[in-house]
């Protein structure tokens, strides 16, 4: 690392490297964050779950949403509706969306995650997600 010549320079480096530990710090306070869990079983992956996951991670970062944490989970049992994602806003029941395309993901970020307004495509909540 090049020599740090002032306290301000140190702070700038901190801003630059912050993202390296962000994900871990989020993990420490996961209950206070909006959690998005992407079902990542074979059926989900085949249907594009990985792309959806990457998309949500990148788009929420671009939108400056620091309170979102994206994790993956096993098959949620909705193979007919993959990719599925589960969104949990702190203090609320989890909501599962099915057939999540990238456009749908954008809508979920924009409405549900940012503003707490649910959008179409929710799978009725008879489920309990599988740990």
């Amino acid at each position: 690392m090049a020599k740090i010549m002032s306290f301000d320079e140190l702070k700038k480096i901190k801003d630059r490297v912050q993202s390296q530990v962000d994900l871990r710090e989020k993990g420490e306070n996961i209950e206070s964050l909006v959690q998005v869990r992407v079902a990542m079983a074979t059926c989900g992956i085949a249907a594009g779950a990985r792309e959806v996951m990457n998309y949500i991670v990148e788009e929420s970062a671009k939108a400056g949403l620091t309170n979102v944490v994206v994790t993956q989970t096993g098959c949620m049992g909705y193979c007919y509706a993959e990719p599925t994602i589960e969104v949990t806003v702190p203090g609320q029941e989890p909501v599962v969306y099915g057939n999540v395309s990238l456009e749908k993901a954008a809508e979920i970020i924009d409405k549900h995650i940012k503003n707490g307004v649910m959008v179409d495509g929710i799978i009725p909540a008879t489920h309990k997600s599988i740990e």
Partner: protein, 597 residues
Amino acid sequence: MSNFKMHMLVCGGTGCISAESELIVSNLQSELEAVGMGDQVQVLKTGCFGFCEKGPVVKVLPDNTFYVEVKPADAAELVKEHIVKGRKVERLLYMDPDKKERVADSKNMDFYKKQMRIALRNCGFIDPDKVEEYIARDGYHALGMAVTSMTPQEVINVIKESGLRGRGGGGFPTGLKWEFASKYDADQKYVVCNADEGDPGAFMDRSILEGDPHSIIEAMAICGYAIGASKGQVYIRAEYPLAIKRLEKGIQDAREAGLLGENIMGTDFSFDIELSFGAGAFVCGEETALIHSMEGERGEPTTKPPFPAESGYWGKPTNVNNVETLANIPIILLKGSAWFAGIGTEKSKGTKVFALAGKINNVGLIEVPMGTTLREVIYDIGGGIKNGKKFKAVQTGGPSGGCLTEKDLDTPIDFDNLIAKGSMMGSGGMIVMDEDDCMPAVAKFYLEFTEEESCGKCTPCRIGTKRLSELLEMVTEGKAEVKHLDEMKRLSRVIKDTALCGLGQTAPNPVLSTLDAFYDEYLAHVQDKKCPAGQCTHLMTYTIDPEACVGCTACRRVCPVEAITGEVKKPHVIDQDKCIKCGACYDKCKFNAISVN
């Protein structure tokens, strides 16, 4: 922005490394490459998670999945299942011994629930070899703040107001100590970090140095600024190779980044750090002995005053602090004295790190707020006594401390409460004993340690600890009488009052506290010649049950001292005067005819 969607933290502490955790790191990396996810999942080597007993530990984030006892061969499954398919690998999750369930999220593990990590805040969280990771956690910001916008006295005031007390054993207020050193005028002053850690079984300081070396480097620089010192010295035992390696790397990286050296962050303040290696003598942890050892002299204590603050390293004003004490410094400056003073008890602020050991389910390194009770530590965090046995005592303060019993379990742990109960905080060793432990034998273990470690400079300690351990040996061999117990007490008092340094002054504590709490057990040894815990071999009797003995002669042939006689197919007998209680006959008899009590 980094591209990583997940992090896999692999413990790189001494415990887990000895169980091949470095191979786990490289296996995980190659498995991730193989599935084309090397750029999406970051694998990191961190410091100790504290759960060393169940190591190697691998933690996956951000979903907080905590895997235990991971083997290098498990890497493929972890990647293919957890990373690719999002399915946790059940068999590697921690099994809650009470509920018999697997626990995935470390937050739900009893071991972590009551912990509060301040000194260990970065251990098991960052890669200790990367200064950027430390900076990302606000590292060197406290130093930056101090040198650019605070006067040395302001720094001292924050530490004073925080109520921080030394974690090396004495519990002396840190801010006050800094103030003393700051008041002396000298052309050169020194900051010394005491990383000698000689308490048997303790590894708090080692883990901090291995897991977060930059926090110590930063704290030493802050102390240098506060007291007006430009040189720092870490005294570390040579048996800590990994801690030394990480610290050396940290110092070098800090120098390159201009965080050590001349004109730190463009200010007038300059500071640098060097290492001194100790040979591992317990007494060298005592600050005056430590300073003499650093100067190349014999590591023997000298009388105080003068205190190091006045005349220390090379006769210059020197501030000596323990590793854990220093680990608290940067975060106190960042979060403020009120934040720190809000944690803990009235006179003991903040947290304390303990190395839990002995007959306890969760052996490991823990950090709890001051004021947590022993019961919470032993039963909630420690998971209770191994194999469902009964709790008997817990030794805090290592060889300088004492035993605490059932009646003390609800005592909130802090410096003053432990002293009031006849023990002490010490550096943080905590050894739990169960019904099978013999207390005179425990006291003997500690006295043999201090006898061995006594530097021999003063008579009460050199001769006194030897005599005490001889007396304890007599007790455990059934050769002592009641008058010897009184002699032990009297001798203990004399040693405490007349020894020169803390080693001798505290050495009798294990004897006094066990005599106090377990007098009956001592009496059983001296009057009835019995060891109720069944540990003292000399006090056991091996007898042959003539009804059960078939006269196979096996025991007679195995006895090393020919204490057994008997004819073939007739009951055998043990001559108690000859028997040396080796137990060989007991192990040999296939007919359960030999009993021991």
